[in-house]
Symmetry: C2
Subunit: 473 residues, 2 copies
């Protein structure tokens, strides 16, 4: 167990020399810095907080913290859902939110270089001006790219284009020693030693501080069509999913959700777009599917075949959104699921499990079968196309301790079932400190020991983001 020191006045003075006027302490610290978007994991204030501006000053700050064994936690926009950016051991919090410059495009190699605090939304709209697409598309558009890389964020388009990992070419990193390193390069393929780049991706700020990223872009597909597909119940909805793969339809996005989730989202937005009843039958669940491509004719052929397939599989209807306005409407509801749930729920926790797509149906059937054992409600939606499910436990009347106790029993059961189906604890939100035990239980001792050894290899004094991923405090 690592021992940490407190941030003394002497250390504050040393930090002030590096970033004059920017070392916040006590009540001057932004209270949001104590938490992320999943408040169930508690609030932990840092002893000092700094909005950093450059690789060099981060390096200088970390050298001081490493020498004095002060915990350092890095935070982007704070949109995480597993406590990854919460400074649970106190110490110094570094916010990258002002390192938000899109530095340069390389249009001959389709690359963009950014600071880590650039928001996903800002890169998306900027890249579009060049006719380019940054394929990763997590639901939370106001996350930073540094945060996305740190959790290997997935999102809607992962089913066709892959997750964030597939779009990171290189990064500048400040190591826990304060040294500045560069991992990866601008090139698209490499066999040049262990992939330190891939080790950093998804390491949730525990191995180094990302201070610059070079990301791969693709030409923006010219055409896009979305389908809204209502089903009578979740079972018939989900059992259709593997047919998309079997028929080689290659959707760009393939989402599912229960009606309850849709309703809370549409209430949150104040606009209802999805049908609630089809031919007198109450809708129970939906698929929301997008197809993209450069050729409208071949896209329409795929859409027709897909529509025929889902109707054969029991879909109640197929609504086609083929104009930008209709597509925007259809996806607006999907983008506000979490906000919708949050607004209507006092106590909330979530599971971000990922299972093979042909195991989604039996997995959700299992989840439903144990729901009655608990006092909270279970609501689910997710990325059907890649098996990544978001299962929310929601209560407005339970006591916090009882809620936490019951959720822990529930989570252990469903993670165990997911593991049985060759799934993993998190598809895209990460482990943070909220899911350390579940990760350890499901991966087993050998993998956790290797991860801890790697953590030691990078961070001998264990100062960077303590208490996360594979190391409990």
């Amino acid at each position: 167990m690592a021992e940490y020191n407190k941030v003394t006045t002497e250390i504050i003075n040393e930090l002030e020399k590096i970033v004059p006027g920017r070392v916040m302490t006590g009540e001057n610290i932004n209270p949001d810095y104590a938490r992320d978007e999943m408040p169930i994991y508690g609030k932990h204030m840092p002893e000092a907080a700094i909005e950093v501006l450059s690789t060099e000053e981060i390096s200088a700050i970390i050298k001081i913290c490493n020498l004095n064994r002060i915990p350092v936690t890095v935070r982007g926009a704070g949109t995480g859902l597993a406590g990854g950016a919460v400074p649970v051991a106190g110490g110094v919090l570094l916010s990258t939110i002002k390192m938000n410059k899109i530095i340069s495009y390389d249009l001959e190699n389709l690359l963009v270089t950014v600071e880590p605090g650039v928001l996903l939304n800002d890169l998306a709209s900027d890249a579009a001006k060049h006719g380019l697409l940054y394929p990763p598309d997590p639901g939370e558009k106001f996350a930073t790219l540094g945060g996305n890389v740190s959790t290997n964020a997935g999102g809607m388009r992962a089913v066709k284009y892959g997750a964030t990992r597939d779009y990171v070419r290189s990064m500048t990193v400040v190591l826990p020693t304060g040294e500045i390193a560069r991992f990866g390069s601008s090139v698209s393929k490499t066999s040049s030693g262990y992939s330190l780049l891939n080790l950093m991706i998804g390491s949730e700020g525990t191995l180094g501080v990302i201070t610059e990223l070079t990301l791969k872009l693709i030409p923006q597909p010219k055409e896009l069509i979305s389908l809204v597909i209502p089903f009578e119940d979740l079972e018939s909805c989900i059992s259709t999913v593997p047919k998309f793969t079997l028929n080689h339809f290659r959707p760009q996005a393939l989402e599912f959700f229960e009606k309850e989730i849709l309703i809370s989202s549409e209430e949150y937005l104040g606009k209802a777009v999805f049908p609630r009843v089809c031919d007198g039958i109450e809708v129970g669940a939906y698929l929301l599917v997008s197809f993209d491509g450069d050729d409208m004719d071949s896209l329409l052929t795929t859409v027709e075949k897909a529509a025929e397939m889902v109707l054969n599989e029991g879909a109640l209807d197929v609504l086609i959104a083929d104009t930008p306005a209709k597509i925007k409407d259809a996806w607006a509801a999907r983008s506000s699921f979490l906000e919708g749930i949050e607004e209507q729920t006092k106590l909330l926790d979530e599971c971000d499990v990922v299972v093979p797509t042909n195991k989604i149906a039996p997995f959700l059937t299992y989840v439903k079968s144990i729901e009655a054992e608990f006092d909270f409600k279970v609501k689910s939606f997710g990325h059907a196309g890649d098996g990544n499910l978001h299962i929310y436990t929601c209560s407005n009347d339970m006591e916090l301790d009882e809620f936490k106790k019951q959720v822990d029993v529930f989570m252990n059961k469903i993670y165990e079932k997911a593991t049985e189906f060759k799934g993993l604890v998190s598809g895209e939100h990460g482990i943070g400190f909220g899911k350390i035990d579940y990760l350890a239980n499901t991966l087993g001792d050998i993998n956790i020991r290797l991860m801890q050894n790697i953590k030691n290899a990078f961070d001998p004094n264990m100062i960077l983001n303590p208490g996360k991923v594979c190391y409990k405090l």
Copy 2:
């Protein structure tokens, strides 16, 4: 520096208990096990060699070797080009060549599970029966998949589909302690702790022994067209390459080669397909390009636009191969470049550098500019689409020591230039022991120290594939 012990009679007896009748020693060892396909790095016989058959027996063998500090080197088909599978420290060599079963397909998730000794060629033809494609397509079709994963092999189709790394979902690994671990899972996205899976990919057998692989497949594209494009010289040929990206043509493969290489390959095959003269102009270099897709009309539109573009850029002609027989002919020559060079050359070494695609032209201009300083000939070809160049130093009359000395000076110069262009030492062949110094020189101390720390984290007794990647003997 690690200290190793010799393989004693007692140890042979212990190994015999695990794999009776399969522990080869002395003259019973296959002499090929002393080398790979690049003999310039010398021959090193192991003290014992075993053709292994299962995860469990590999685990038992490695436990004995770890306890006794005996080096263990794993070898697939031995087609490597950097000495990665050469047992430079002696000890025990494990050949996976008989672990060659394609275990199962999962057609709902488009996955295949294989033993590590399955040959690339065998998986390709087997997957085709299911209408599926394993996209990685290294030139050497008789390499094992275990070897491909260990070097993150790239190949012709990497420009569109990515390298081997992008197609590995999970693996079973015997660690240097003899423990059996499982990295990754069947799922397509994950944020569940450090990516031990990605660390293993490209680690050249130094961190663990891969004993099973689950790989991702894609639906076989329905249509394929190849173009043979002759140019007067290498410069005009290469300067055309970035235009494919700028115009968003997305070729499946985009190869370049000098005429000399083509001639030796066609002589090796005994069949000449490519034009040597166009309209009275002597051809100096070629592009060989493939486009694939599911829709012939849109494919033809792309081919027309690409043909127009290259003719505008100075191509002498565009020959279209649009039947399986013509496509096979065009690519046969490309697949035999190395064999063609080998047959005509006594002393051979190679550089597998990768640079951003818009730096290929200035990089090759630099290489040409220093060629006259040396007594060997320089021949080059490579994957123009992703910047991965194969530059061969060839001599039939130099003394070995002088050749090696001059090659070292040459390589240092061109690696330095590649690094200046943000390139890396190896695009797909790996570091092995032939390129350790070049990797260390170009990556610098911090990255190499992190790699060495990771090696220690996995292999405290340093028994697995000693003297490779980041650790010199």
